[in-house]
Every structure is written in C-alpha cells, then in structure tokens.
Amino acid sequence: MLDKNIIANLQQISGKEQVLTDKADLICYSYDATQKQYLPDVVVHPGSVEEISQIMKLASENKIPVFPRGAGTGFTGGSVPTAGGVVLGLTRLDKILEIDEENLVATIEPGVVTEDFQKTVEKLGLFYPPDPASLKVSTMGGNVAECAGGPRCVKYGVTKDYIIGLEIVTPTGDIIKTGGSTMKGVVGYDLTKLICGSEGTLAVITKIIVKLLPKPEAKKTMLVMFDSIDGAAQGVSDIIRNKIIPTTLEFMDGRTIDCVRQATDLQVPNDARALLIIEVDGDLEFLAKQVERIAEITRPLGVVETRIAETPAESEALWQIRRSVSASLRNVNPDKFNEDICVPRSKVPEMIRKIEAIADKYQIPIVNYGHAGDGNIHVNIMVNGKISGDHEKAEKAVVEVFEGALELGGTMSGEHGVGIMKAPFIDMELSTNVVDYMKTIKRALDPNNILNPGKIFPSDR
C-alpha cells in the first residue's frame, strides 16, 4: 500500500478524479492480453507531459514503481503492474497535434488509437503502414514502446521505421526530445530507435513524430492454396526472388486450415495443406499484371486453387478466412500459448516441420499461421487448462520451439516483445555480455529501477 501522502500528491498533480484507488478501478487496470493479473496501488491518468514529469519525480524520490499503459493489449505483460505502485494510463493524451502535408510528417500524442490515426491521414491521401492486429484499439504509444509489427511489414517495415522523433519523460522526471522532424539526422546517439521497442522500461513516451507515405492508389487480394507447406514456402521465396514485394504475404498451415474448415462454412478444398493470402498495392493498372505474375510464379508449386478478388467484397471474403482463424482455434482446445517466433523466410518450411515434430512428441496440437513474407510465425500451442499436465507439456514445447527458431538463425519474438512472458528465456537468445550491455543502459537511465521494473530481464539478476 502506498502512503496516503503519495496519493494526495498524485491528486494534486493530476486532479482528484484522475487518481483511482477504488478496488474495482485497480482490478480494471491489472491485466493485459496475457491475462496475468497484478493489482496496482493506484491508477493515474495524467493530462500533460508536465504532470507526467512531476509524477516521475515523485516516484523517483519515493522509489515507487511506475507502469506506463496504453490500451493494455500486449501479449507479453509489458504493461501489467507486477510490483504494485502506479499504473500510468496515457489514454487522455490522445490528440493528433499536427499533420504536415508538405513534409509528410505527423506529430501525435501517445494515447491516439492506431486506426484512428491511420484513418485520419488516409483522408489526406497519406499512409501510416504498421498494422498490428489490435490496431482498432491499440495506442500509438504502446505501438512505439513495443515496436509493433503487422502483416504489411513485409513491404513497409515495422513501427520503428516510421518514428523519427519523440518527446519523452525520463525515469527521473526530465522532459527531453529525441530525433526531430527531419528525414535525416545523425547528431549523437539514435535515442529514438533505442526507445522504440524498449517496452516502457527506459522512458514514458509523451509525443511521437511519425514519418508518412503517400497512400497507394489501390490494392488487390489473392488466395493461393498449395498441396504442401513446402510449396507455399517456395512460393514466398519465388515471388520475392522475382522482385515482387507484396504488401502482405500471410500463410496458414494445414492444421490451421483444418480448424477453419471445421469451425466455419468457408470453402477450402480438402487437399489444400497450406495457403497464402497475398495482397499487392500500388497503381491500379499495375496491380492486375502483378497478380497475374504471382499466379504464374506459384503455378508449378503444387497449387490446388488460386482465387483472385475482383471486388472489395471478394477481397473481404478472402481476408475473412484469415480472420476466422483466431476464434476457430478454440474448437481445438480452450487455451493457447501464443508465440511469435521469426526465422529467415527461406527457413519457414523447416521451422514448420520442427514444430510438427514437437507437437507429435508432446502429443499437443500446435497450429501455425502468420506473416510468411517476413518469416514471422504465430505458433499457437493449444492446451486445455483443465487437463492436468497440459500446461507443463506446453511450457516444454514452447522452449523447444524457441530452440528451433534460434537454431535456424531466428528470434523468439518478432512482434510481441519480451515483457514478463519471455523474460525467463532471453538468455537462450542473448549472450551474457549483450544482456549486461542492455542492463547497463537501464541502470544508468533508471538508477532506482522504478520504470516498468521486472520486464525484459529475468528478475534474478
């Protein structure tokens, strides 16, 4: 429990109604999409960077942990208050401050919802590509802190590729600016990139300067079904080798297709053992040719069927197949371990085979889908929490999946980050001196270890 004076100070800083201590309020800010729950002592919704600075100073002086929070949709516990203290809700800072159409740059606050921002710039013919699955609710601050990805990243890159400047509050309460509004800038360390993906452990993000692109004129969607995962993976390689970079290259493996087929009335032929949903964007006249070319490239690779969407409604129907995956998985088992390993794209079939072997070894269903274009595979280990031993088996399987990805030169997380969920495993991927290098930075910037403590690094060191 926090001292009453601290609560009074927080009320002074942000106003009484923005400081929540009722048990019901604490419960509502105790979780994220990992479903792990930790009650904070207090939830504060500051209204300005100055307030945040004062809160950080107060927390520093009193060594109170602070947990910045956007929409709370993370998959690794990045925002959960694992050590009580203060949940710093940033959703009130939700203004799009400026869209500079001459320089293709926007300045926004961290609480802006990703999709709202995208829709706003698209009305001006501009484009912000990163598209995490949670974009309808996730905040831009959260996207920057976790360096969010998404299907379009195969062509357009991830969040950090679009962030050119930040305003941040340091763990000790200073307000500083990193980067700026220019496309180039090499004076000093690139702190902007350091903060992107730092999972809220190094700074509270209070302003974001975003680089924008012109909005592509049109897009076209196609679905290619293969009789093997190798065909699909070869298809991905061949498309890219032919100098075509689609906007998205989503794949589903045979087990995922089975799930969808069982759960819905979507028409997918029985001999389809893998499929790719491919979208290309650009000039309208160019797209039809590109789609034809992709169909041609994939044809010799055991294609069962190719569907090309001619209308937005048909395109929607193809995406519906991908979107129905998540819900249909529940028919396999009620709970899942959702991992997001990433391997070089040429290694995708090998990785899938490794995962299938792990599934057989532990007699546990694992379904795989994801972003084939960049080798980012969503590995869903399906368990039933009510069956004893299921969780333990899954935990062992997870470790073997990580090992498999690392053996192939991959990483244990392409998008979700480390948080608390992967912290116990980071030694598998990062050598001791790399972890030490990172922790040296953390200790220097946050000497009292009050900003989002317990995240990324295993707690025993």
Binding site: K23, A24, I27, Y31, A33, A71, T73, E115, S134, V137
Partner: protein, 419 residues
C-alpha cells in the same frame, strides 16, 4: 417456472474472455468515457473478482456495472463470443439479491415498489401527466425508463397516449384463410407512446391478408427489468406472457420493437424449457413482411418524383441477431423514399434500457455521435424498428438542434397503403 440464470452459471463464459481488449473499439459507453471499467473486458474482470470474493459490492463496482447499455456491441465483435451483456445483467441481479434492489441504479427498485413516487412522474418531459401515467402498469418497462426523480428537464419525451394501442383495437382482426395468423406482441413503447406505429402494423398486415390477434393480457417483455437487475419482475412478466403464448393459436409472434424481440428470443429461452418452443415462432415484423414478399408488393407502387431522403438506424437488439437487411429492404421498396446509408448505422443510439435514465450525460454523448452521422447522411428522416431508439434518436437530434425526425419504418409503410 421461469428462472433467470445466476452469475455463477456464467463461470465458463467469463473464463472465455482472453482480455484481448477488442471490445474497446465497439463499446459505446467506453467510447464516451475512456475508462476500462466501462468496457466489456473490465466488466468481465469485475464479475470474475466478484465470483472469487475479491471485491465488495460498493463504490466503483456498482458504478461500473451500471455503466453498460446491454447493447451487445461487444458480443457482436468478440472473437470468443462472450455475452458480456448477459453477464452484466446477471451481476446486476446478484447485486440486487445481495443488497436489495434499491442499491442498483440509485433506486430503480424503489420506483418499482413505490406507487407514490411513481405519481410524481409528471414534471419531467412536461408531456407526462399523472393521470396518463396511471394507465401504465406498475411493472411496465416504461416505469423503469422514466422514474421521475431522474428525468432531466432538457429531455424530449414523446407524449403518452390517452388511449393505449391495445385498448384501441379488437382482439382479433381476421384475414384471408390461406394466410398465416400472427400474434402481435405490442410492447410498452407502441402501446403507450407510439400507438400509431401499432396501427400502421395492422394496416400492413391487413394489406397482405394476414390474420392478427392482439391479446389484451400480454404484458411488458421484461427487458428494462433485466437492465435493472430485477430478477423477480422479469420472471413474473415472462410467466404472464408465456400464458398468453400458450392460450392462443397462431403461426408466428411478431414484434415491432427490437428490445421486445431480444427479450423474447434471447432472455426467455434461458429461463426454462417451456419457453424454448416459442423461440423460432418469434419474428421481427420486417423479417415476417419480407418472407411474405411484402417488399415486392411495395415495389409495384409507382415511385414518386420528389422522394424524401431517409436513413436507417440499426437497433442493437436486431443487429446482434443478424437482422439488418430486412428493415432496409422494406425501406428501399417504399415509393416515397430515397434510401441513404449513414456512417456507423449499427452503433448504439445511447438509450440502453435504464442506462439513459441514470447516465443521461453519457447517454447524450453517445446520442450526439449518432446525431452527427444522421446529419452527415443528408437524410430528412431517420427510420428504425424500435420505439426506444426512436425516443432517444429524437432527443439526440433535438439536442443537435437539427430539424429532422425519428420515425418507425411502419409509419412510412402506412403512408402508402390504402385505408
């Protein structure tokens, strides 16, 4: 015996929520006040804590549980199909059973029980006179929607009719022998506030030769009482209506109110075996009319040159049941109308049963958003299929100082039919 489910019965469904937070994009209450306690995910966490004994029934818990329109927008988009609206309603019943009805919603229960308080109900909209309100039975949902002490003076309310709909019409209006017979479940909205919409329905059914029975002893569907957490009221109303359903002979039960449709098709079937047989007989009036090829008949009428632009608002309680095409099909077939779609036609109007009574400010915010979409559509009229929505839409339009009207689709249908 009609019996509503208890919160404990939702244990498994509560566990189905994976806290993805997707509901934040669709919850109207969250949209108006960005607090996690407003949104489905927060409410599920709270209900879970209540079942585990981790939270007391006081303070913010009660406020958060009252801050739900039961619109089911979250359910409609939930990847795991968690019925948060049912879980919130069950939580409200739990609150009522543990602490008494009056705890919830600042005294909804008091109003139910206290006749004297009810008679104060004259002040509010100006249109409500004591005398008229006496006509409304104690347990009607309208009592819950307009408890006097909570009615704001700037709210537009429709005048209560001097002669309720069911007193105006015979018990049975015979049609053609080869056409089906329907039982018209009028609901309180049409009976007491919009009787002309009920008459319009009779006109439409007469036009196609359908026999209509309008039992006098039908009562409120109970949905406002569901919203209030008044379990016993819901159960006794359901039993009275069940008796009516059992005593009459008909092919279908039709409703012209989205809330009633939801009460009958979603709430009743969970209350006991005896209700299940009626689930498939209940049809929204426009679903029924489309099945009877009514749209084709309307299309045969010569189109007017000067047509009125009309847009459609999807009531949550129809949208959740997938009824979106049929009301539009009838509207589009009308000769005096040019149909225009508005943005976000499927988002909640902000009424939410008793919600707008206790949270009028939030309700107005939600309504203002809707009024904006209506204005942008360029329509002169907004038509819908729910008296509650009509009332709220008109109030929102008036607050936006627009000169538009909210009407029932049936009113527009009646305009072009003979007789």
């Amino acid at each position: 015996m009609a019996k509503l489910k208890e919160l404990e019965d939702f244990r498994d469904e509560i566990d189905q929520c994976v806290k993805c937070g997707g509901c934040r994009a669709y919850c109207p209450a969250f949209g108006a006040e960005k607090h996690e306690g407003r949104v489905a995910r927060g409410k599920i966490a709270l209900a879970d804590s209540l079942l585990k004994g981790d939270v007391d029934l006081e303070g913010k818990f009660l406020l958060d549980m009252s801050q739900c329109l039961l619109c089911g927008s979250c359910y409609a988009q939930c990847p795991n199909k968690v019925h948060t609206e049912d879980i919130v309603a069950a939580t409200r019943r739990e609150i009522a059973s543990r602490k008494g009805l009056s705890t919830f919603g600042k005294g909804v229960g008091t109003i139910l029980k206290n006749q004297g308080l009810m008679n104060v109900l004259a002040k509010g909209g100006g249109a409500f006179s004591k005398l008229l309100f006496k006509k409304i039975p104690d347990q009607s949902g309208l009592r819950l929607r307009f408890p006097a002490p909570f009615i704001s003076s700037d709210r537009t309310l429709p005048p209560l009719t001097a002669k309720p709909f069911r007193e105006r019409c015979p018990d049975i209006i015979p049609g053609d022998a080869d056409k089906p017979t329907v039982l018209f479940f009028t609901g309180c909205g049409i009976n007491f506030m919009y009787p002309e919409s009920g008459e319009a329905l009779l006109k439409a059914l007469k036009f196609i030769g359908v026999t209509v029975i309008i039992p006098k002893d039908q009562v409120c569907c109970g949905l406002p009482a569901v919203s209030a957490g008044a379990a016993k009221t819901v159960e006794s109303l359901a039993e009275e209506n069940l008796a009516v359903f059992q005593q009459n002979k008909y092919d279908y039960i039709v409703t012209a109110c989205a809330s009633c449709h939801s009460g009958l098709t979603q709430i009743y079937p969970g209350m006991g075996e005896e209700f299940n047989q009626y689930k498939d007989k209940i049809k929204d009036i426009f679903v029924f009319l489309v099945e009877q090829e009514f749209a084709e008949k309307l299309s045969e009428l010569p189109k007017l040159k000067d047509r009125t632009k009309v847009t459609y608002h999807d009531p949550c309680h129809l949208r959740n049941h997938g009824i979106t095409k049929e009301p539009r099909a009838i509207l589009k077939a009308l000769p005096q109308i040019e149909f225009v779609e508005m943005e976000d036609a499927g988002t909640c109007c902000g009424l939410g049963g008793t919600y707008s009574v206790y949270h009028y400010d939030t309700s107005k915010k939600i309504g203002a958003k809707k009024a904006g979409f209506i204005a942008e559509s360029g329509a002169e009229l907004v038509a819908t299929d729910c008296p509650g929505c009509i009332m709220q839409l008109q109030d929102s339009i008036n607050h936006a100082t627009e000169k538009k009207r909210a009407v029932h689709i049936l009113d527009l249908v009646a305009e072009v039919l003979p007789g």
